[in-house]
């Protein structure tokens, strides 16, 4: 029989039980505590992150079927609340928003005044965060907080957020978190981590902040039967993972194959549509544009997600550096899996499989790496 692993950063070793009938009280508690609760909900035939006020907002009884280039919602034969894997959104959009003003300039009688744009967002409670997404947050922390320069918007939102993770109890054909050592079990980086059972959730407490949220709720100590059921549910996800990525020496493999013929081959399939980078929970590229009011006296600098697949991303005075799709796909893949390690000490890939699911022509990065590994230069 498997032992129940404890989260490494848990200040409270005891696993608790929260009945589903008390979950609305849990949501209410979060909202009353000043959090803006964001979690999975259904919009445009996909499970995306948005505000969750009522348990009815959750995708109860739905699941997602995913494969290369395919994403479909289907009814489950039960009423599970978190019975799906991951959708096109990730928590990235809340800490590193798709569009946000970074600075502003106002013309005054004393000339231009330059200032920060106050970030008005209330603290987020992110509900339903998966293990791969916890890993992605840790990856982005390295980019936006842990380096020489800190992004103030990311840091403020990140530090104030409450993270309520929910363990996966199933996997998609696109999942390969086990190869990246990022899941499917949530082991760190959460305030609370839930595992869904038919009538309740087991709750692991990862921080004081998480414990505080529970303090006024009718949680009980989880009985051994519940712990075993939760472990069995989590094990289902492990057992369902079929995809793998061999990460052995992957940095050197890719960086010593920058002229591999596979880049030409994948370029005949890749549309450079940017989908993979838009759904990736770790991609951090952005551009800043000037947004002026009609008078021209008030100007905001707005940062937007950008991507190395955009043709003019590498524009400079002398021309476009990555003028070919071959160059752009190579940049994305070698950055994600190789040079990211040089830059931040970790892989940029957490094995969530989104880039495979949302690629319109079903390019699978694990297959691209395997092709290069099979026949290296």
């Amino acid at each position: 029989m498997k032992a129940v692993a404890r989260p490494r950063n848990s200040p409270q070793s005891e696993t608790l039980l929260l009945a589903k009938q008390d979950f609305q009280a849990f949501l209410d508690q979060l909202w009353q505590g000043g959090y803006r609760v964001v979690g999975p909900t259904i919009a445009q035939q996909a499970i995306v992150y948005d505000e969750i006020r009522r348990v009815e907002d959750l995708p109860r009884g739905w699941t997602d079927e995913q494969s290369g280039g395919q994403y479909r919602l289907t009814r489950r034969d039960d009423e599970a609340w978190f019975g799906f894997v991951v959708g096109p959104h990730s928590p990235k959009r809340y800490f590193f928003p798709p569009q946000v003003a970074v600075t502003q300039a106002d013309r005054t009688s004393n000339g231009w005044q330059f200032s920060e744009v106050p970030d008005q967002e209330p603290p987020y409670a992110l509900l339903g965060v998966r293990a791969c997404e916890l890993a992605a947050i840790a990856v982005q922390d390295r980019t936006f907080i842990n380096e020489q320069y800190v992004d103030p918007i990311y840091r403020r939102r990140r530090e104030r957020a409450l993270i309520v993770a929910v363990n996966c109890t199933q996997a998609a054909s696109t999942c390969f978190c086990t190869s990246m050592n990022t899941g499917p079990r949530c082991t760190q980086g959460f305030d609370l981590a839930l595992t869904e059972l038919p009538d309740s959730f087991t709750v692991e407490v990862g921080s004081e902040r998480g414990a505080d949220v529970l303090s006024s709720l009718p949680v009980t100590r989880a009985a051994p039967g519940s712990l075993l059921a939760a472990e069995a549910a989590r094990q289902q996800a492990v057992d369902q993972i079929t995809k793998g990525l061999d990460t052995k020496d992957i940095r050197d493999l890719l960086l010593s194959n920058l002229e591999h013929p596979r880049w030409d081959e994948v370029a005949t399939r890749c549309l450079s549509c940017t989908n993979c980078t838009m759904v990736c929970p770790t991609c951090f590229c952005s551009s800043v544009k000037e947004v002026s009011d009609l008078t021209g006296d008030h100007v905001q600098r707005e940062r937007e997600w950008d991507t190395c697949f955009n043709w003019d991303f590498s524009y400079m005075n002398g021309g476009i550096v990555r003028n070919q799709i071959r160059s752009r796909y190579r940049q994305w893949l070698t950055h994600k899996l190789a040079s990211w390690i040089d830059q931040f000490g970790v892989s940029g890939c957490v094995g969530c499989g989104r880039c495979i699911t949302w690629c319109p022509v079903a390019i699978d990065l694990t297959e691209e790496v395997a092709a290069i590994r099979e026949n290296p230069a």
């Binding site: 231009w112 103030p152 920058l258 551009s287 000037e290 950008d306 160059s327 190579r330 940049q331």
Partner: protein, 286 residues
Amino acid sequence: MSVQASSAMVDNPWLAQSVEVATVTPELPGVATYHLRFRDAGLNERYRFRPGQFNMLYLPGVGEIAISLSAANEMSGTWDHTIRVAGNVTRTLAGLGVGGELALRGPYGTSWPLDECTGADVILVAGGIGLAPLRPAIHACFTQRKRFGRTTLLYGARSPDMLLYRRDYDVWADRGLNVSATVDRFQPGWSGDVGVVPLLVDRLRPLTPANSVMFLCGPEVMMRYTVRSALERGLRRDQIWVSLERNMQCAVGLCGHCQLGPAFVCKDGPVFRYDKIERYLNVEGL
């Protein structure tokens, strides 16, 4: 308050500080040196940079560009940037005139490794406007003259009328810099060399390769061939530094645009020791 302004530059990397155009020195057709001064006098006093670093210059409503510092001008108390009109921001900047207002954040990036080159013969090699980021290194050679051995500038431009800072060459020569210039195209009145910059490296005499360092800035193709000549003359790859250009938008390693292999050119560069960037620099379209 000035203390606040100074710390803001550290805390929020996006926030720029107000500067004004103190004077403008026309250099070449479409090229001028803008002498910028912080409106906050305390900040202007405290600002420091190292030769080879760059600033982000911002015009509200127009955009922001990365420009190398070309001098710390002690006479006028300004921070100088030599800029060629190339796009919206540079064109608008050119139209601002004296007293014009813009914003600056910086300095950013790595610098020419002057501190590591004590006792060495310093060979500066530039092509076109690539002389601008080397000019603070030239000035450092003068102010720290005893620190270095022989100092040489090898410079190439398209034609004699495109030689940047030409008025300064005699002054530089008087202060001990060996200046050689070459042009791609002859024009009447030119009595110097005609040919590409690597030829100046091929012909450089005297040269003690083991005791030399080379700082290189210009178009990538020019730098590639110059490095080849330098290696043929006996310099090692770790004695050569290059200043690279990429699309730098945030300048602080957050926006991703300037990547070259594992390097963020904005913060790991723009100045790289050649042996550390060579394998990526020579991959087309990387």
